[in-house]
């Protein structure tokens, strides 16, 4: 197990390296630069700014400089938010995104698994259809519609919750977390339902049932655990995605998370900031996929790593 872990971590290095390289060059191909503005800067000043941030050097030099910099865990100054370094911005934003992400993930997991399992036990009956239709609302209504609807209902009309803004308080967390969790609930419910149906039809469960074990115990003790495996492999990438924030939720609820930086960073040509969040995302993905594999091995010792693939 230790050897496997070390090998996995070692294999993460070329992955990260490839990620950094592709992202670095791609963002710099984009037309326009970080210091373009509607008030055109005099050319001399633009040249000075470029020199200050080493943008006047050949791209390969900049690339080498950047690699050396991140090797020392310094992501550099933000080109757009000029009073802050990328490290500052990520340290301010990541806790917010992590908080929302983990809460949404927890809710989605609990609700999604319960709903999915419940539907599986009523496969192709009205209850199944009703629950799954309801779950599917989460996927079928874009979150940029869901969020304003929730605000209109709970903040404006009923006045129960704030309309946005961020503090670490329960009331400010509810609506963003719900918005984030809804589509995940739907995905998890669907995956759980599918795998649960499969497990319930397996000869193993049939045997257990044949032995006369009560249905409740069959499901809780024998069916649920294997049925959760696909959910867990879905959770790896999903957790990384949800913990790095959502530009929609952040914009509509004015939440200072890091999701916006993926989009705003790219649009503002804030080269360093974008690289910072991309690398963070890459590291989270690698980490979570690794955790998923460990969890898999723990839940099901028969798993072979080379065919433990995630379902779509």
């Amino acid at each position: 197990m230790l050897k496997y872990s070390l090998r996995r971590l070692a294999s993460a290095i070329p992955t990260l390296f490839l990620l950094i390289t592709v992202a670095f060059f791609l963002i710099r191909i984009a037309p326009g630069g970080p210091f373009d503005s509607e008030r055109a800067l005099p050319p001399e000043i633009e040249a000075n700014l470029a020199a200050k941030y080493h943008l006047d050097e050949p791209l390969v030099f900049q690339y080498a400089r950047y690699l050396w910099q991140i090797a020392r865990l310094d992501f550099g100054p933000s080109f757009h938010y000029r009073d802050w370094t990328v490290n500052d911005l990520i340290l301010q934003g990541a806790p917010v995104s992590f908080t929302l992400g983990i809460l949404a993930l927890a809710i989605a997991l609990v609700v999604g698994v319960l709903v999915g399992a419940w539907a599986a036990l009523r496969q192709n009956r009205p209850g199944d259809y009703a629950v799954m239709s309801f779950a599917m609302i989460g996927i079928s209504i874009p979150n940029f519609v869901m969020a304003p609807l929730l605000i209109l209902l709970f903040a404006i009309t009923l006045g129960w919750l704030p309309a946005g803004g961020w503090e670490y308080t329960p009331s400010r967390t509810v609506l963003p977390v719900v918005t984030l969790a809804l589509p995940m609930i739907a995905y998890i419910a669907r995956i759980t339902r599918g795998s649960m149906i499969e497990v319930l039809h397996s000869s193993y469960i049939r045997t257990v049932r044949a032995k006369g074990m009560p249905e409740k115990e069959v499901i809780l003790r024998h069916a649920l655990k294997p049925a959760l495996l696909p959910v867990i492999s879905y959770l790896g990438p999903a957790a990384a995605a949800i913990m790095t924030g959502s530009v929609v939720v952040e914009r509509i609820f004015t939440i200072p998370g890091i999701g916006t930086y993926f989009v705003q960073g790219a649009l503002n040509r804030d080269y360093t900031l974008v690289m910072g969040v991309v690398i963070l995302y890459g590291m989270l993905i690698i980490l979570f996929n690794f955790l998923v594999d460990l969890l898999y091995a723990w839940l099901d010792p028969r798993i072979h790593y080379d065919d433990g693939e995630a379902e779509a």
């Binding site: 373009d36 000075n48 009073d83 802050w84 704030p162 309309a163 329960p170 004015t254 200072p256």
Partner: protein, 570 residues
């Protein structure tokens, strides 16, 4: 083990879904409070008994500032905060008049080239140190120093040697500014610049505290490090969440500053800001979603404030490329085919004023030239447009195909769609609408290689027609139309050196006329300032520059509060 994990999850769940604690800033009902009648004392200050107990102002403020360094900052939201933090030699009254700021008075030499400012001896930095003429000298040198990278460095261009310092020919020490004493600061200008006192309200001309810069370097604007000379000081800055300013007790006029704390909230989406206002979280919004006009009119009329802004929304033609190079008739045809009334009434909807001019109204002594077609009916304009279109060599069977570029925004999109439809209906023009992301758009405009017609617009940087006209100098960095007319350039140079106000004004009118006759731009309307303001917030006034210093404002009790207070006292 598993049960433990599950109960943990449930606990988090409950924490997230739990009812809001009573002490939390729960939203108030969306009904607008009615303010008390305000009474003033002999000095014109509102009487303390009408003032709200809590003088904390919540201002919505557009996008997150890139920096709060007054010399590097850019954009309206940044300037709003900087005007509260710092103070220039002059400042503005609520109605926009230029009044003494850090300088209590000044002398202007007869030739208009030497300004001597006498600083307020009570002027203090937020750490209690006096504000001196040396601070201004050092700060202005920093602005023109090309290594600083000041975004609006050009603001100081009228000062002797500034241009040569920008381009690196002279060192910043050669700038035409001197500290005659601790409290007198002298500026030498190259040309008489009638709007110079107005420039001094701009953040680029604000002083910065040298020791703080030298000690903290690029971190000098962090809360705790930033030393400022304005009515407020920076106490908290959570990126993309809020910027908090507290009253600066050392400020020279601190006794008259009523608002104790200002919280600036950044917004990336106007609907979000609107919702926050409705929920009672804001006293002041940066803007209003344009789709909401009729709703606001009927539901929040007391809060909706609309007033003219010093800016013009226009489209520009790329004069260096087909089809607009050497094609005056075509440009005129497209200009006339646009029904501005429809656009302002049905698309923008906030009472914007349709126009055929570039320079907005509201300047004290500028009588704009009015093009002949401005007085026609739209039907007449369309007839003339069709005639010109044919004259330019196009027809039904040989229609013009043109690209119309705009940057990503709901409003720009709607306006461009409407204009394309009008061109099609009146002339049969086939328009390809191209929506570009802002940086790409700016670059394409500046390079002039792919653009044809494109969205433009300008908000004046200072109260003078010159801020609009200079954009079309052949050497200006934002002359994206590629207008290059030696007569126009000479005219601008004459305006810059003209000392007699009446003559200068006539030259500017002449310059605007030249631009309009050459149809470099297609003006559509003048911008309007539109925002929601809590009726309890008073002390501010409308002004076309849209400068609103928090130090003039105060919050008044609502009538409901008064009743409540009365009861509790009994």
């Amino acid at each position: 083990m598993k049960r433990g994990a599950l109960s943990l999850l449930l606990a988090t769940l409950l924490a997230a879904c739990g009812a809001p604690a009573p002490d939390e800033d729960a939203p108030r009902p969306p009904r607008l409070p009615v303010p008390m009648e305000v009474a003033f004392d002999d000095d014109g200050r509102p009487l303390p008994e009408v003032l709200a107990d809590e003088q904390v102002l919540y201002r919505g403020n557009g996008e997150e500032p890139q920096t709060l360094d007054p010399h590097l900052g850019e954009g309206v939201p940044t300037a709003n905060i900087l005007r509260d933090l710092f103070e220039g030699l002059t400042t503005t009254a609520p109605d926009g008049r230029i009044v003494p700021g850090a300088a209590i008075h000044w002398d202007i030499s007869r030739d208009g080239l030497t300004y001597t400012f006498f600083l307020d001896p009570d002027g203090r930095w937020s750490n209690g140190e006096p504000v001196t003429a040396h601070d201004f000298v050092w700060s202005w040198r920093r602005v023109v120093d090309p290594t600083t990278g000041a975004a609006y460095g050009r603001m100081l261009a009228p000062v002797v040697n500034a241009e040569a310092i920008f381009s690196g020919e002279l060192s910043p020490e050669e700038l035409g500014v001197t500290a005659l004493s601790d409290t007198s600061f002298q500026v030498q200008l190259d040309d008489p610049t009638p709007y110079f006192l107005g420039l001094l309200t701009h953040p680029t001309t604000y002083p910065v505290f040298r020791p703080a810069l030298e000690e903290h370097g690029s971190m000098h604007v962090r809360p705790g490090n930033l030393v400022s000379n304005g009515a407020y000081r920076l106490t908290d800055w959570q990126v993309r969440s809020r910027i908090v300013l507290e009253r600066n007790e050392h400020f020279r006029d601190a006794d008259n500053v009523i608002i104790e704390r200002v919280v600036f909230y950044p917004f990336e989406d106007e609907n979000t800001e609107f919702n926050r206002f409705r929920a009672g979280d804001l006293h002041w919004t940066y803007q209003v979603p344009s789709a909401q006009f009729s709703w606001l009119k009927s539901n929040m009329d007391e809060a909706l404030k609309i007033s003219p802004w010093f800016g013009t929304y226009f489209f520009s033609f790329n004069l260096t490329r087909e089809p607009f190079e050497d094609s005056l008739a075509l440009r005129q045809a497209l200009n006339l085919a646009v029904d501005r009334e429809i656009i302002t009434e049905r698309v923008t909807r906030f009472g914007e004023m349709p126009t055929f001019n570039l320079v907005p109204p509201g300047l004290p002594d500028y009588e704009p030239y009015e093009p002949e077609h401005a007085a026609w009916t739209q039907a007449e304009r369309e007839d003339e447009a069709r005639r010109l279109y044919r004259q330019a060599g196009y027809s039904e069977s040989q229609p013009l195909t043109v690209e119309l570029r705009y940057n990503t925004s709901e409003n720009h999109r709607k306006i461009a769609v409407a204009i394309a439809a009008m061109w099609k209906q009146t002339l049969g023009v086939r328009t390809r609408l191209i929506n570009e992301e802002f940086r790409v758009f700016l670059q394409n405009r500046a390079q002039r290689r792919v653009t044809q017609a494109f969205r433009a617009g300008w908000i004046g940087d200072y109260m003078d027609a010159f801020t609009f006209l200079e954009l079309f100098h052949s050497g200006h960095g934002r002359n994206d139309a590629g207008y290059s007319n030696p007569r126009f350039d000479r005219l601008l140079e004459r305006i810059a050196s003209e000392r007699i106000p009446a003559k200068r004004r006539n030259l500017m009118v002449e310059a605007e006329r030249m631009l309009l006759d050459d149809q470099v731009v297609l003006p559509v309307f003048y911008y309007m300032i539109r925002r929601l303001i809590d009726p309890r917030l008073q002390g501010w006034d409308e002004n076309i520059m849209d400068y609103h210093l928090t130090r003039h404002m105060y919050l008044v009790k609502s009538q409901a509060e008064e009743v409540h207070d009365g009861e509790s006292e009994e």
